[in-house]
């Protein structure tokens, strides 16, 4: 029963919340969509926390995404042990980088008086959920080898079944506790995106790359360009 709630119902709640929540937030409280940077109040510690955290999480995120989208490619790559080791070690290193950055960011936030003013309850939730996610992730990578391979074989079918609206939870509920925590907290993370500072990654400014530098806006229609 618990398995159904956590692995067959929760995913849909999370996706539903992400979809409607972010559309709602973007449309009706667009002003509140911001990176909420606190660099202005504290910059030095942020440097050592934010950079490893962000680069780490970006790599890990795309790693997971690749495994969801192209499990066969991952399996093919992992056929040669050396390539498997390279992939696992790189991913683990980025995970460590992510954890280091995250810990430094948490320490920074609770050590710096000025930052209390700009720390919300949701920020605390974000820290907790990220910590759970990163620690369980590293735990799984270290103790249940080799994650990149069994992920592609066990989890990718599950995630695909979720997206096919026919969740197949038989394999998932039998996974070790740490893996189940990792999955559940991932869904919670996805679900709270629209209600936390996670929102800022949805507005990453890709468009900047192909936009002309200068921007002039005219009020009157009669104007050319």
């Amino acid at each position: 029963m618990n398995g159904i709630i956590l692995f067959a119902v929760l995913p849909y709640i999370a996706l539903f919340s992400l979809l409607l929540g972010s559309i709602y937030r973007y449309t009706y409280s667009g002003f509140q969509v911001s990176s909420l940077s606190s660099q202005f109040l504290e910059s030095k510690q942020l440097y050592f926390g934010s950079r490893p955290f962000h680069w780490g999480i970006i790599f890990i995120f795309f790693g997971h995404l690749t495994a969801f989208l192209t499990p066969r490619a991952i399996l093919a790559w992992n056929k040669v042990p050396l390539r498997l080791y390279i992939l696992e070690i790189t991913a683990f290193a980025f995970g460590i980088m992510l954890l280091t950055g995250l810990v430094l960011l948490i320490v920074r936030r609770f050590k710096t008086k000025r930052l209390y003013e700009v720390t919300s309850k949701m920020d605390v939730l974000v820290y907790i959920i990220l910590l759970v996610q990163v620690i369980t992730g590293l735990w799984i990578a270290y103790f249940f080898r080799w994650g990149s391979s069994w992920f592609a074989m066990v989890l990718t079918p599950y995630v695909r079944s979720v997206f096919a609206f026919n969740p197949d939870i038989i394999a998932v509920v039998q996974l070790p506790l740490m893996v189940r925590i990792h999955i559940v907290s991932a869904f919670i993370m996805i679900g709270i995106i629209p209600f936390t500072r996670f929102m800022h990654f949805l507005v990453y400014p890709f468009a900047y790359l192909w936009r002309p530098y200068q921007l002039v806006i005219w009020n009157y229609k009669k104007q050319r360009n």
Binding site: F40, V118, V203
Partner: protein, 498 residues
């Protein structure tokens, strides 16, 4: 001349600034007296020499503001497409609150609420960020009137070209010299903040050239703060959005003078329209540094030239705007008389705020008998040996070109000689004529400068073009659709429900 635009520009007359900070307070009261904006001074007044606000803002080796020429192309120094997106997670050169100051307030309520005690109650300083007690150690004008000059004035970035002895003489007690530098956003023609904004929240208004931030679109990536070489974009630490001087556009659109300018006690501020050739922006912003100033002044077009007028009309510029441009005091100071220069043209943003050079601190020498020089020949001599080194002024206003600054001071001096000959009459007319010839002014021009500098009334100092906001609705709809809306329109279209 296919792409003519109009720009609201400004002139600040530095000889008239008394450093009273009324402009700053007017601005603060209207715009930045809120949470997250306490530390912001969209308008601030600095004492020069001094390090300014934020501290040493002119030092682009540290702050990486503005543009730099890279071969034939022009690049942002500390931001830009790849550089910006790479440093999104931690903006390397962005100033923090400590570069400005931590805003504080005093616990005034303690004075009223205190129980009866043996000692007087005190109102201690508390931080406006954390609410904790603090000892203010810096502020927006901490080095006002050269106070703390060993730390502040001596570290002025603009003295880099001065020899050690020149520098030393500036700080000898008898020769101490200073002037005030009021600063607002320059509403540049080639704004670095607009170019640096990854979200596209910054924009320049086509009709009047005011640079604004769309608060809804700003995502707090903070690149603008690094990019603006004048450090006139501020980060609101509470909302997580950038803010800047809006040139009081709600006032301008209703024909009112911006608050800082209206409240100016010394009447040092002028505002008017300049027409310019927008197609030349890129070429001029990326020219050789020695030509920058000259070329920037070339971009502004003569509003009385029939060819310019015809081209401007073809570009859709309203007749009323052209009319305002013809009466613009900025045109007179900057182009007709050539006595006002932009701040730090070497930042390559083509700023639209011009400063009439301060003559008095350069000239104010005291004789051995403790009197100021008054003879015309002595005054003229001082031009060659000014109390405020021209190199210092040149480093601020002309990218280091001493000749341009010297020429302007000569003109200002000539105006004084001419007016003295007219009103006091104790000068040899030949002497005045020689000065006129040397500086290139005519007596009419000298009278014009005198008039606009000292007698001009509000309508002459501020020539605000009608904003034609009534036409703005055309941007949204054809106007006939709004017939019957009493000019207001509906927040939601009055559409029949399903």
């Amino acid at each position: 001349m296919k792409n003519i635009r109009s720009q609201i520009s400004m002139v600040f007359h530095l000889d008239k600034c008394i450093g009273c900070h009324t402009c700053s307070i007017a601005c603060k009261n209207i715009w930045t007296d809120r949470k997250g904006a306490e530390y912001m001074w969209w308008n601030n007044v600095e004492t020069k020499p001094g390090t300014g606000y934020p501290s040493k803002w002119e030092n682009q080796d540290a702050y990486k503001g503005g543009w730099e020429k890279n071969g034939d192309s022009l690049e942002l120094k500390g931001a830009g497409k790849l550089k910006g997106l790479k440093t999104l997670f931690h903006n390397t050169h962005m100033p923090t609150m400590d570069n400005y100051y931590e805003p504080w307030n005093y616990q005034y309520s303690k004075l009223l609420d205190s129980p009866e005690m043996d000692d007087q109650p005190t109102a201690e300083a508390v931080s406006m960020i954390t609410g904790e007690k603090m000892t203010p150690k810096s502020g927006p004008n901490w080095d006002d009137d050269l106070s703390g000059s060993p730390i502040y004035a001596r570290n002025d970035v603009n003295m880099k070209d001065l020899s050690p002895s020149e520098k030393e003489t500036m700080f000898q007690l008898e020769r101490m010299v200073m002037f005030y530098l009021p600063r607002i956003c320059n509403h540049c023609l080639n704004p670095a903040c607009v170019a640096a904004c990854p979200s596209g929240a910054f924009y320049k208004r086509g009709e009047d050239g005011i640079v604004l931030v769309n608060q809804k679109q700003c995502r707090g990536w903070r690149m603008c703060i690094t990019a603006c070489p004048h450090k006139k974009v501020y980060y609101n630490w509470n909302t997580g959005k950038s803010e800047k001087c809006i040139l009081c556009y709600p006032r301008l659109e209703t024909g009112q003078v911006p608050a800082c300018m209206h409240s100016c006690v010394g009447r040092i501020r002028y505002l008017g329209v300049m027409l310019y050739d927008a197609d030349r922006i890129k070429e001029i912003a990326s020219c050789e540094e020695k030509d920058l100033l000259k070329k920037q002044l070339e971009i502004y077009l003569d509003p009385n030239d029939p060819e310019v007028i015809a081209a401007a009309k073809a570009c859709g510029i309203a007749d009323s705007t052209i009319d305002s441009a013809q009466k613009s005091p900025v045109w007179k100071y900057v182009k007709e008389w050539g006595i006002a220069l932009p701040l730090h043209p070497e930042f390559r943003t083509l700023p639209n705020l011009f400063y009439v050079m301060p003559l008095l601190p350069a000239m104010a020498q005291i004789n051995d008998d403790n009197n100021y020089h008054t003879a015309s020949s002595a005054l003229w001599d001082d031009m060659k040996n000014p109390r405020l080194p021209l190199k210092y002024l040149a480093s601020i206003f002309s990218a280091g070109d001493v000749n341009i600054v010297g020429k302007i001071l000569e003109k200002l001096m000539t105006v004084r000689l001419h007016r003295r000959a007219v009103t006091v009459g104790d000068l040899n007319q030949n002497e005045v004529n020689t000065a006129m010839l040397a500086s290139g002014l005519t007596p009419e021009q000298a009278d014009g400068i005198y008039r606009l500098t000292s007698l001009a009334r509000l309508e002459e100092r501020f020539v605000i073009p009608p904003a034609h906001r009534e036409e703005a609705i055309e941007m949204i709809e054809e106007t006939h659709i709004h017939k019957g809306n009493t000019g207001f329109g509906f927040m939601d279209r009055p559409k029949r429900g399903l």
